[in-house]
C-alpha cells in the first residue's frame, strides 16, 4: 500500500480524494494512531478556521442592470393594463369587443418590439464597453 502523503490527509478531510485512495488512507488511519492523531488535529483546526471565516459573511447590496426578460414581463403587464383601460373606457356604441382586443394586441406588439429593441441596444452597448 502506498504511504500517505501529508497533503493527502488535507484532501481526505476536504472530501477531495478519489474514492479508492480515500478508502486506502482510511484503512491506514485505522491502523496508525500517530496518523490518526495528525488527522484529528487537521480536522479540529479546519473546523475552527471555518467557524472564524463564517463570522466575516455578510449580505452585500448588489445591483444588476435589468434583463430583457424583466423588460418583457414589464411590457406584458403594461399591455394588459392598457387592455383593461380600453375595456373600461370603450364607448357604449362599441358593441363588439373585437376592436378593443385588436387595439390591445397592437399595443402589446408595439410595446414589446420597442422595449426589446431598446434592451438589445443597451446590452450591445454595455458589452462593447466591457
Amino acid at each position: 500500500m502506498k504511504p500517505v502523503l501529508p497533503e493527502e490527509l488535507s484532501a481526505l478531510m476536504d472530501g477531495e480524494l478519489d474514492a479508492d485512495r480515500a478508502r486506502e488512507i482510511e484503512t491506514q488511519l485505522a491502523a496508525n494512531p500517530h496518523l490518526r492523531a495528525e488527522f484529528s488535529r487537521l480536522v479540529e483546526t479546519d473546523a475552527q478556521w471555518r467557524a472564524a471565516a463564517a463570522t466575516a459573511v455578510f449580505a452585500p447590496a448588489v445591483r444588476l442592470p435589468p434583463t430583457t426578460a424583466g423588460l418583457r414581463s414589464a411590457a406584458i403587464v403594461t399591455a394588459l393594463m392598457i387592455g383593461l383601460i380600453c375595456l373600461r373606457m370603450a364607448p357604449r356604441w362599441l358593441e363588439s369587443l373585437t376592436l378593443v382586443f385588436g387595439l390591445h394586441t397592437v399595443a402589446l406588439a408595439v410595446l414589446l418590439a420597442g422595449l426589446m429593441k431598446v434592451a438589445r441596444a443597451d446590452d450591445s452597448e454595455r458589452d462593447a464597453h466591457a
Binding site: P6, E7, E8, L9, S10, A11, D14, E16, L42, T45, D46, Q48, W49, R50, A51, A52, A53, A54, T55, A56, V57, F58, A59, P60, A61, V62, R63, L64, P65, T67, T68, A69, R126, D127, H129, A130
Partner: protein, 161 residues
Amino acid sequence: MIDRLAYGRELASLLGEAAAYARSFLGNRPDAEDAVQQAALQAWHRIEQYDTTRPFKGWWFAILRNCCFDLLRQRRTATTRGIDGIDPPDTRATEVFDWERLDAGLRNLSPAHQEILRLRYYGGLSYEALAETLGIPKGTVMSRLHLARKALAEQLRSEAR
C-alpha cells in the same frame, strides 16, 4: 453559456462568501461591497465568455479577485497605509477567534498561501474551483493548500505564545 437570469440566480447563492472573501482581502466592509458590486457587473457583461464546462464559482471568483487587486492598487495610490494596504485590526483586544484573528494570522504568510486560504475558507471554493480561479493544476492546489494550512497553524501558534 448561461443567460443573465440564470446568472442572477447563481450570483445570489455565492454573495455571502464573496463578501467575506473580499472583506478579508481588503480589510473593511465598504471596500468589500464595492469589489463585489464591481465583480457582479463585470461578470454580467462577460457572461457570454463563461464556459459552462468549468466551475462557475471559480470563474466568478477569478473576476472578484481581480476587482480586489484593482481596489487595493487604487487605495495604495491614494494613500500610504500599513503593510499590504490594510489597517490591521486590534486582535489582542478580544479572545474570540473570529475572522479578524484569522486574518491577523493570514497576513504574515506568503501571498500565495494567503490567497489560497482566503479562497478556501472565506470563498468556500472546491479544489476544482480553486484551480480555475488561480489558474493552477488541481494537484498544485492540493499541495499548496496543505502547506498553507501548516504555515497558518504555525503562525497562530507563535502568536499565541
